[in-house]
C-alpha cells in the first residue's frame, strides 16, 4: 500500500540526516520493515529508486531488514509468532492477540560520504 508515499517519507528522513551531517552522497539506506506492516518490500524498493533520482540518495543501495511478526495471546498468556495482522493465535486459535512485533516501518541507518 502507498509505497510511493513511504518512499518519499524515507527520502525526507535521509535528506534531513544527510544535510545535518554534511554528506555529499548517500551510499546505503537500511530500513526495518515488519511483516505485519502491510508494506511490500519489492514495491518499496521500486518506489525508492524512482523518488531518489536527482537527490543526494541517487543510486543508493536499499537494504530492507525483515522483522518477523509476533503477538501477545491473551488466552495463552504468551508471545506467539504471527503471520498476519489481526490473525488468530497459532496455538489456541483465539483472535485476542495483540501485535507486539513486526508492525515497524523504520529507517534504521544510512551510510554517507
Amino acid at each position: 500500500m502507498h509505497e510511493m508515499s513511504l518512499a518519499e517519507g524515507v527520502l525526507q528522513l535521509v535528506e534531513d540526516t544527510a544535510r545535518r551531517e554534511g554528506a555529499k552522497r548517500v551510499k546505503l539506506v537500511v530500513l526495518e520493515i515488519g511483516r505485519l506492516s502491510s508494506v511490500q518490500p519489492e514495491a518499496l524498493t521500486f518506489c525508492f529508486d524512482v523518488v531518489t533520482r536527482n537527490s543526494v540518495a541517487e543510486g543508493a543501495a536499499l537494504e530492507i531488514v525483515d522483522v518477523p511478526g509476533a503477538g501477545w495471546c491473551m488466552q495463552c498468556a504468551a508471545t506467539v509468532p504471527m503471520a498476519e495482522l489481526y490473525g488468530s493465535c497459532p496455538t489456541c486459535g483465539s483472535h485476542q492477540v495483540q501485535p507486539t512485533g513486526g508492525t515497524e516501518m523504520r529507517v534504521r541507518e544510512i551510510e554517507i560520504e
Partner: protein, 354 residues
C-alpha cells in the same frame, strides 16, 4: 560499525592489514573483494538517470489546492549502465597515496564513508504534521473527524445530511479529498458551509501536511466541527494520521459483510463505524449482524451505528455522538482559557507586589 567494509567507530583496524570490501552497485548487486593493503579508492557509478518525478501544487482562484506529480519520459528505464573505476591512488614510483579519497585524509581504521543512525519511523514526518494539527484543533476547541470508506459508500451524502442537521447550531468546515474534480466540495458548499477541495492527483490518501494547509485556508472558528472526507480508499488512509480526533469508517450494506476482514487496517484504526444505506437491507442478502461481528473481530472497541442517509434512520445517534465530541473539545478549550486567565491574574499580582 560500517557494514560495507566492517570498519568504523569503535572498531580497531590495523592499517595495512588484510580486509575485504563490499561494493554495492546502483542496480543492487553486491560485489565483494579482498585487499591485502590499505588504499584510497574512488567509485564512479555513472547512471543515465533520466529526470525523475516531481510534484507541483497549483492554487486555483476558488481556493482549491491541486497537487500532481509529473513523471518524465524514460522514468521506467531500469538499466543503469555503469562502469566501476577503482582509483587506487598509486602515485609515481609506486608510492601509496592515502590522501586521494573523498575526504582528502586518511585515518587508520576509518573508512571515508560512515554510517549514521536514524532510527526513525518512516511516517514520523507525517505524524509530526498531524500532531501539530491536533494541537491547533485542541487549543481552539475544535472537534475534527476523518471520514474514511471505499468509494461509493455514501460518505458525501451522509456528510450533507449531517451538515443540514447541525449547521444551525454549530460552525462547520469541510475538507474534501479526491483524486480529481471539485464535485464533492461543490456539493458541500451547496449546503451553505465552507468547504475546500484537495485533489491528490496520483495520491491515494490525504496526509497531515495537506490538511494543515487546508486549516490555514478555512480558518475554522473556535468550538467548531471540522470534517475531513478522505479519498475513497480502504487501504492507505488508515496509516496516515491527519490530526483528527477520530477516524470514522463508513461501510454500506451494498458492500460485503467481510470487508472489515479484508481491509482490517482501516477498521482497526477507526473508533466509529457507520453502517450506511440500512434502508436497503430488506432488498439485500446482507447480514448486518455478521458485518458488525467482523468489524469487532479486528477492533473490539469499535462503536457501530446503523444509519441511512436517505431515510434519516439512526442519524440521531450519530449526531448526538458528534455533539458530545464537540462539547468535550469546547470544555477542554475553556479549561485551558480558565487556566491561562488564572495564570495572568497570578502574574499581575506578582508584578504589582514588586
Amino acid at each position: 560499525m560500517c557494514t560495507v567494509c566492517g570498519c568504523g567507530a569503535g572498531e580497531v583496524k590495523i592499517e595495512g592489514g588484510a580486509h575485504a570490501h563490499a561494493h554495492v552497485h546502483a542496480d543492487g548487486t553486491v560485489h565483494v573483494h579482498a585487499h591485502d593493503h590499505d588504499h584510497a579508492h574512488d567509485h564512479t557509478h555513472d547512471s543515465t538517470a533520466p529526470a525523475g518525478a516531481h510534484a507541483h501544487t497549483h492554487t486555483h482562484a476558488d481556493g482549491s489546492t491541486h497537487s500532481h506529480d509529473h513523471v518524465h519520459q524514460g522514468e521506467h528505464t531500469h538499466d543503469h549502465p555503469h562502469h566501476h573505476d577503482h582509483d587506487h591512488g598509486h602515485a609515481a614510483h609506486g608510492d601509496l597515496d592515502y590522501g586521494s579519497g573523498p575526504a582528502r585524509a586518511h585515518v587508520p581504521g576509518m573508512s571515508q564513508s560512515r554510517m549514521v543512525q536514524i532510527e526513525q519511523d518512516i511516517l514520523s514526518k507525517n505524524n509530526a504534521y498531524a500532531t501539530a494539527n491536533r494541537k491547533w484543533f485542541d487549543s481552539r476547541g475544535i472537534f475534527a473527524l476523518n471520514l474514511v470508506s471505499s468509494p461509493g459508500s455514501g460518505k458525501t451524502t451522509l456528510l450533507c445530511k449531517t451538515i443540514e442537521a447541525l449547521k444551525a447550531t454549530l460552525a462547520i468546515n469541510v475538507v474534501e479529498g479526491d483524486q480529481q474534480t471539485a464535485n464533492d466540495a461543490e456539493r458541500i458548499r451547496a449546503t451553505g458551509v465552507p468547504a475546500l477541495q484537495i485533489n491528490t492527483g496520483k495520491g491515494c490518501h490525504l496526509d497531515g501536511h495537506m490538511v494543515g494547509h487546508a486549516m490555514e485556508r478555512l480558518k475554522p472558528a473556535e468550538g467548531s466541527l471540522f470534517l475531513i472526507e478522505n479519498v475513497g480508499n480502504l487501504v492507505c488512509p488508515a496509516a496516515f494520521d491527519l490530526g483528527e480526533h477520530h477516524k470514522v469508517a463508513i461501510l454500506s450494506v451494498t458492500e460485503g459483510e467481510d470487508k472489515p476482514l479484508k481491509y482490517p487496517d482501516m477498521f482497526a484504526a477507526a473508533d466509529v463505524m457507520l453502517l450506511n444505506k440500512c434502508d436497503l437491507l430488506p432488498y439485500l442478502q446482507f447480514d448486518a449482524d455478521l458485518a458488525e461481528a467482523n468489524a469487532r473481530r479486528v477492533n473490539p472497541a469499535l462503536k457501530v451505528i446503523r444509519v441511512s442517509a436517505t431515510t434519516g434512520e439512526g442519524l440521531a445517534e450519530w449526531l448526538d455522538w458528534i455533539k458530545a465530541g464537540v462539547a468535550v473539545q469546547q470544555g477542554k478549550r475553556e479549561a485551558t482559557v480558565d487556566a491561562l486567565q488564572r495564570r495572568i491574574v497570578e502574574l499581575e499580582q506578582q508584578l504589582a507586589a514588586r
